[in-house]
Structure formats: C-alpha cells, structure tokens
C-alpha cells in the first residue's frame, strides 16, 4: 500500500465516521433507549399514535402519487421533445429542467403568489366572475401534488430523454426490418431499454418527495407528513418522538436508495458504445399536429416560467399594494434597496455565502480525496481498495444524499448536541459551524459523483502514456488528469454551492442567530407578510443560481 493513499483512506474513514456513521448510529441508538436503558417503548408508543400513522401514510401516499403524476407528465413530454421537432421545441427544452434548480422554499413561495387564494390566478378568476370569495384555497392534497408535479417532473423528463438519446436507433431499425410493427418495437425494444431510466426517475422522485418539507409547511393544510411531524416534535421539545420518527423516515429513504443503486448498476446498454445509426428527430410536418405540438410547447413553457415570473413581479411590489387586486397596484425598487442596504439582510447573505462556500470548498477537496480511492486509475496495478471496500465507501458517501435533509439535521444535532467522546467538550450544535457541516454532508455526494464521472471518462491510457513518457505520479496528476477533470469537478462544486445557498429543510432545524441563512430570512419575511421582501430574496437566489448554472453548463462543455 502506498503511504499517500493510506493517508487519504484515513481521512475518508475519519470524515465518514464523524459525519455519517456516528450521527446516524446515534439517532438509531437514541430511538431504542429511554432513560439510559434499552427499550422498544419509543416505537410502540409512536406507532400507536394516530397522528404518526397518518404521517407515515401521508408521506408514502404523497410520494407514490407524486411519482405517478410526474411520470404521467414527464414521460410523454420527453417522447414529444426528444423524438420530434417542431416550432417551439427548443424554447421548452431550454427551460424544462428549471424547477430542478429552484430552491423548494422559493418555489413554494412563488406558488403561493401565483396559485394561492390571494394569488394572481385566484384573484383574476374572482374578479372575472365577480365572486365573493376566492375560488379555491391552496392547501392540502391538490396543492401538494400540483407543487410536487411542477418541481419533480423534470426527473422523469430528463432521465427519459437521456434514455431515449442513448438508445441506438439502429436497434429499432433492426427490429422493424425483422418484421416488428411499430407497437411491437415500442414494447419489445424501446420500453425494456428505457426501464432502467424510468425506475431511476421513479426512485429519485420518491426520495425527493419523501424529503419534501417546504410545501407541506407552507400549504400542506391538514396533510400530515413525516418531515413536518419531526420538525414540530423538535420545536415543542419532544426529542424522543422526533428521533424515532427520523429513524422511520431514514429507513424508508434508504430502502429506496438500495433499490436505486441496484438499478443504476444495470444501466448498461449493449449498443451504447458502438457506432450506431444517428437518431434523427422526426419533423412534424402536417399542419394540425404541428400546430398542436407548438401550442403544447408554448403552454408548457409558460406554465414552467410563470411561478418565477410571478416571483419577479411581486419582488417589485410596494408593501401593502397587493391585497384584493389581481396584480400589485404599485411598483418600487424598495425591496431590493432594503436587501442591499439593510445590515440585517447583508448579514444573512454573508452567512449563506460563507457557509455555502466553506461547505462547497470542503466538498471539492473531499471529492478528490475519495475519488482517488474509488477510481482504479492504474489498470495494471491492483486497485488500492477491493471491490467491496469501494462499494462500502461509495454507499457511505451516498447515504447523506439519500437521506432527507430533516434526517441529516436531526442526526447531527442528536450526535453533537452535548459533549461527546468524539468531540470532547466541544458542542457543535449552537455554533456557526453546525450549518456548514450539515451543508457539506448533504451536498458533498453531488461533487463526488461529478468528479467521479469526469474521472471515469478519462482514458486510463492517457496517464499510462504520460508515465511511459517519463512523467512522475504528481506530474501525471497535474499535467494530464487535473486539466481533464477540473471542469466537471468545478461544475459539481458550483451546483453544491447554489443548492446550499437556498437550503431550508435542514437549516430551519439547527440554525442559530449567528448563522441565519437566506432561507430563514425568506420564511420570516413571509410570516411578517413582507411579501415583496420575501420575493426579492427569492429572485436574488434565482439569479445567482441561473448564472451558476450557465457557468456550470459551459464548464461541462469544456471537456
């Protein structure tokens, strides 16, 4: 074993033990203990409560219904936009993944402004029809499902689209030439090849939906979900109930992860690497279908953009100018002036930026450390870690990604909420550092995966060629590997950074006055009915995210 790799392994073991193994073990242990002795009482107690059963059923039901609805919307859209070409196609395709980068809290706020009972849509219908009251209330199941479908359908759209692109067109051509009808080819060739993509999308949607917190909090109505129950239990100081429910939520999410990993491994396509017939999009030429498709593209594009447009509109609204009117009646820059002038707002931005930057930078360093262990770069030599060692390492890295933010925050709080053997007298909870740590744990898997993907694309022959030309190990890394993988690594880091910037789910559980992030400020502005200010915060986040995404996209193309 080389000493440098041994050092990396030691770092990886320490970080994963402190960050993943110990906190999660602490929660599990705590859930089986009461007053220092082992017991199942916590489980028997909470599972006999009607509200807890309702919350479990609510989370599962919401997630399953979300998966179904997202598939129903995302898969046909992917077929339409991947297989055909028509006016308006590019418009929609360019913004199709927009909801994925919208922070859930900002999205939920925008939904309230647009679809809420005092929102633009309800107002316009009320005024149009001269109704006394709002035509609907944005609450409960319909509201949650609408929001979830909007924010999570891109999983299906993007993954199905990618699956369709990957399928070699010559396979379908071969099937047709062997006498298969269109439907036969569809069911026997296309669908089986798409199945892994569809399952991956379903599991991603399921896990995201299980973790959903902002929407149930803001307009869940009387729908009970686990994330919200854990939050309220912690707020009222009922640690046992919070911890036990956290374990239940974690088990469900990890079960989904296990299935997800299984299917991800099978995502192999026989023809993917071979030269295939280029797939051409079919042009919809006939008048009616072409018109319908174009209308669909425009309508969906408008639906996608309108929450963000609403957010921008409201961010310019003068406080108190938007009560019963359809649209705010007076506009001002005051909200933004406050954002950039107010010392309180400046502090909030500073907090979010510094904490996200710390977490992202740490994640970048960390990813180089673990990817070196995960990717067997030297073909000739035996891999540093055996197959099972690498599998365990990547599983441990993925766990915080699969766990809902609620679970990560609760487990870190439970593990480091009092003096412990691991940290001595240092108590992490209550300090500035709790949030950078939680952000790092939640988003480092993204960076690791991005770097790993870049690393695996680098032909191992390049490092070998460099070696045989006389380059030492560090020269091979600095001159060949690093120049080829840095765009991917930086793009992943940027993504982790902007997601951390808008993080709410975990922040709301463990923030302290010293590190109030942007999301907490948005929520408190909303509570005080400072709608314009809340919207302005959201718009600033969206702008930063969009710029970062453009940069990340450019970086990806650099490769």
């Amino acid at each position: 074993m080389k000493p440098d790799r041994l050092l990396l392994l030691a770092v990886a073991i320490v970080v994963l033990f402190y960050g993943v193994v110990y906190p999660n073990a602490a929660v599990v242990i705590a859930s089986f203990q009461r007053a220092g002795s082992w017991t199942l009482a916590n489980y028997t107690e909470i599972l006999s409560q009607q509200v807890v059963i309702e919350a479990i059923a609510g989370s599962l039901g919401l997630s399953i219904a979300t998966v179904a609805l997202c598939a129903l919307v995302g898969v046909p859209l992917a077929f339409l936009f991947e297989r055909f070409t028509f006016p308006g196609r590019r418009l929609f395709a360019a913004i199709a993944a927009l909801p994925l980068v919208l922070p859930p809290l900002v999205g939920a706020v925008a939904f309230i402004f647009l679809f809420g009972e005092t929102g633009i849509l309800a107002h316009s219908i009320q005024n149009l029809l001269g109704l006394q009251n709002a035509p609907w209330r944005l609450a409960g199941w319909p509201a949650l499902l609408l929001f979830h479908t909007y924010t999570m359908y891109p999983f299906f759209y993007v993954l199905t689209g990618a699956g369709l692109r990957r399928i070699d067109a010559s396979l379908a051509e071969a099937a047709r030439s062997l006498g298969g009808s269109r439907t036969f080819v569809f069911t026997r060739v296309l669908v089986p090849q798409l199945t892994p993509s569809l399952i991956a999308a379903a599991l991603l949607t399921f896990m995201t939906s299980m973790a959903s917190f902002s929407a149930p909090l803001l307009f869940g109505g009387n729908v009970r979900v686990l994330t919200l129950e854990i939050f309220t239990a912690r707020q009222r100081g009922d640690v046992m109930v919070a911890v036990t429910q956290t374990v239940v939520l974690a088990v469900i999410s990890l079960a989904a992860l296990v299935v997800f990993q299984r299917y991800e491994g099978t995502r192999k396509f026989a023809a993917a690497t071979m030269k295939g017939a280029p797939r051409r999009r079919v042009t919809i030429a006939t008048g009616k279908a072409r018109l319908l498709a174009a209308i669909a593209a425009v309508v969906f594009a408008i639906i996608l953009v309108s929450p963000v447009a609403t957010l921008i509109l409201v961010s310019f609204a003068r406080e108190g100018s938007w009560t019963t009117q359809t649209l705010p009646s007076a506009y001002t820059l005051a909200n933004y002036q406050r954002l950039f002038g107010d010392p309180f707002a400046a502090e909030v931005f500073y907090n979010s930026f510094s904490m996200s930057a710390i977490a992202a930078a740490a994640a970048l360093l960390w990813s180089f450390c673990v990817v070196t262990l995960l990717v067997g770069r030297d073909r000739g030599k035996p891999a540093f870690l055996g197959r099972s060692g690498r599998r365990l390492l990547s599983l441990l890295i993925l766990i915080p990604w699969a766990l809902p933010g609620t679970v990560v925050a609760v487990s870190v709080a439970e593990a480091y909420g009092q003096p412990s053997l691991l940290l001595g007298s240092f108590v992490l909870v209550g300090t500035f550092w709790i949030l950078p740590v939680v952000y790092f744990l939640r988003f480092m898997p993204l960076v690791v995966r991005a770097l790993q993907a870049s690393m695996e694309q680098v032909d191992p022959a390049l490092a070998e060629a460099a070696g045989s030309l006389g380059a030492r190990a560090w020269q091979r890394f600095a001159r060949v590997t690093l120049p080829l993988v840095w765009p991917g690594a930086v793009a992943g880091t940027l993504l982790a950074f902007v997601i951390a910037l808008g993080e709410y789910v975990a922040s709301v559980l463990v923030f302290v006055p010293a590190n109030r992030p942007i999301s907490i400020a948005i929520a408190s502005e909303l509570r005080d009915f400072n709608l314009g200010a809340a919207a302005a915060y959201g718009v600033v986040l969206v702008v930063i995210i969009s710029i970062s995404m453009v940069i990340a996209g450019r970086l990806e193309k650099l490769r």
Binding site: G380, E464, A465, L469
Partner: protein, 358 residues
C-alpha cells in the same frame, strides 16, 4: 547479448492466465514482433515490458539490469498506444513536448526536438493544431513523434495501425519501418495482423493462449510452423490427421491419413516428433497443393472430386474431397477443373510438415 530479455514471465488476471511462462530476447536494433489472435496475452506482455503491468513471476532485464519493478516513467521506453492516447487538452506541440517537459528539458532543446520529431513524421507546421482537428493518420504520426522526441532506448507499439484504413495502414507501415531503421532504434511491435508482422518485423514470436508458441524470422514461421496452433494462425493450412506406419523408415516417413486412409510419404527429420502408431497432424499450405484434371502419377498423389471453386482474383481456391479427406488448394488458373468432376491432388512430400502436438 540481448538488449531486452524476458525470463519466465507470467501474469494472471483472477483465474485467467493471461501470460504463461514467456521468455524471449530482443537484440539491439531489432524490429521484434509479438503476433497472435486477440486475447492471446501479447498486449499484456508489451505492457509488462513498458512497466504498466507487473508480472506475477519472472523477471525482465534491459541492458543486463533487472527492471522488473522499475516504474514506467523511469524506463525511458517509448510506447505508442492502440488508440494513440494523445492528450486531448494539449495541442500538437504540447503533446510532443510532454515527455521533454517531464524531464525538465530547456526551452531551446524542447523546441528543437519537437521540431525535428514533427519533421520526421512529416507533420512540420502542425504545432498549434488541436488534437481533434487531426485525421486518424495525423494523430497516429503525432503519437509516434511524441515518443521519438524523448529519444527512447526501446520503442513499444501496441497495434498502432489498427485504427487506420487499409491503404493508409500500408503506407504508414512502410514509413514506420523506414523511420525506426533510420534512427537505429529497437522496437517491439504487437499486432494480430500476420501480414503486418511479416512486412515489418525482423523476428516474430507467435503467442496463443498466453503461451509463446514459436519464435523466428517471418519466412521460417510461415514455412515451418512448429505446431498446430501456429499453423492454424498463420495463413491457411490443410491440417491432415494421420498415423505413422511401422513400415516407415527414419528418413522416409510413411503415414496413413485417418480420413480417406491414404498413404502419404513425408521426410521425417526429427524422429521424436512422430511416434509410431499414434495420431499426428500433417500440414500443407493450399498453395503447395497441386490439382489437375488429368490422372497423374507422382508421390503422394490422391484421386478426389472437386467440390467447390472460389474465385478470388489472382488466384482461385479449390476445395477437393479425396475420399473423405477434405483439402484446399490455391491455384492460379483453375483450368479444366469442374465442380463435381474427378481430379488428382498432389501433396509434395517436401512441403508436408509434421506438427508438434499442441
């Protein structure tokens, strides 16, 4: 004294034996070929010479020093990869200069050596080009320039021409050989293409199933394959199963074929190769099988029926069934021969070879 010497090299990948007990010597200035079907272990052998793989057992010596455990960057060999492995983020100049930078060469020396290397491969003026702007043949030349620039003590080629189309491959082949000879370099060249190996190499080792079967000059290998595997791999061969008769003498072996029960005379030079009353295999190349429509009497002439005539341009392949013994003959003009008609086949005794049992 050999420049490079492999001694009893073995390498396993899990349960598979990729390279089994291979020993070979390469002399200074020699163009040495490793030839074999895909998966025979030739590339693994080359990678062990380069230092990219470590043998499980055995040793590698270069200029009489043991280099078995020397890392690749300290061997000073130049390797040309099958897919060229050009650095996509560097331009032509930087690719060729890569090994010189790793050696901290001075700027002037670097410029000079890159320029002369590019001149040698006939790509002067391409310094600023990006790799993906080059054609396959040009990329191949850059890959060669890149190793020549470091003035390697040994050149290693891993099927460097397999990604080029046929006409370019033949042209590059000639240039490659000419370049290596002019620079007085020693080369080890891995290929599965027998014609390529014959055209390029001074000596060739044939590898099959991880083992070194036979080493020799191209002509020797072709004319005198030592065993069935080599005879099968190098061009077409008629393999005839036969039994040595007890009536045969030491110099004039008499064999009875298992198919058709013909008696064949083969001069036996090494007695131990043909034990009495044991099945052996005789080989004769199709171009040494004579077929004619009229009845001829000559040693080893058999009567048969023409089964098929395949026209292949300059020559034709004639398939003959001689009483159950199926033979292929390569003839210039299949005049007078007709499918399903009788013919005479002559297997010249001096062209029949007795093969080692593989």
């Amino acid at each position: 004294m050999a420049l490079l010497s492999l001694q009893n090299i073995s390498r396993n990948f899990g349960p598979t034996r990729a390279v089994a007990d291979v020993s070979l010597d390469v002399a200074q200035g020699e163009f040495f070929g490793l030839l074999g079907p895909s998966g025979c272990g030739k590339t693994t052998t080359l990678r062990m010479i380069a230092g990219l793989e470590k043998p499980d057992s055995g040793s590698i010596r270069f200029q009489d020093a043991d280099i078995t455990n020397l890392p690749p960057e300290r061997r000073g060999f130049g390797m040309v990869f099958q897919n060229y492995a050009l650095f996509p983020h560097l331009n032509v100049f930087e690719n060729v200069a890569f090994g010189l930078r790793a050696r901290h060469a001075s700027k002037a020396e670097m410029n000079e050596r890159v320029r002369s290397a590019l001149e040698l491969v006939q790509l002067p003026g391409y310094e600023k080009r990006a790799i993906d702007e080059l054609s396959g043949g040009q990329q191949q030349r850059v890959a060669i320039a890149r190793v020549i620039a470091i003035e390697p003590v040994l050149l290693l080629f891993d099927e460097p021409l397999s990604n080029l189309d046929v006409s370019l491959r033949e042209e590059t082949r000639g240039e490659l050989r000419e370049l290596v000879t002019r620079l007085g370099l020693t080369a080890v060249y891995v290929t599965h293409d027998q014609e390529e190996a014959f055209a390029l190499c001074d000596r060739i080792s044939v590898m099959v199933g991880g083992k070194l079967m036979q080493t020799g000059k191209p002509r020797e290998l072709y004319d005198e394959p030592s065993d069935i595997a080599v005879a099968r791999f190098l061009g077409r061969n008629n393999l005839i199963r036969a039994m040595r008769l007890s009536s045969s003498k030491t110099s004039d072996g008499e064999f009875k074929t298992l198919d058709g029960e013909h008696t064949l005379h083969v001069p036996v030079t090494r007695d131990d190769l043909a034990p009495l009353n044991k099945p052996v295999v005789l080989a004769i190349r199709p171009e040494h099988v004579q077929v004619s429509s009229n009845n001829q009497s000559a040693p080893n002439s058999l009567r048969g029926t023409v089964r098929e005539i395949v026209f292949a341009g300059a020559t034709s392949l004639v398939r003959v069934d001689a009483g159950g013994l199926l033979l292929e003959a390569l003839v210039l003009q299949p005049d007078g021969l007709r499918v399903d008609e009788k013919c005479t086949v002559i297997l010249r005794p001096d062209k029949l070879r007795l093969l080692k049992q593989g």
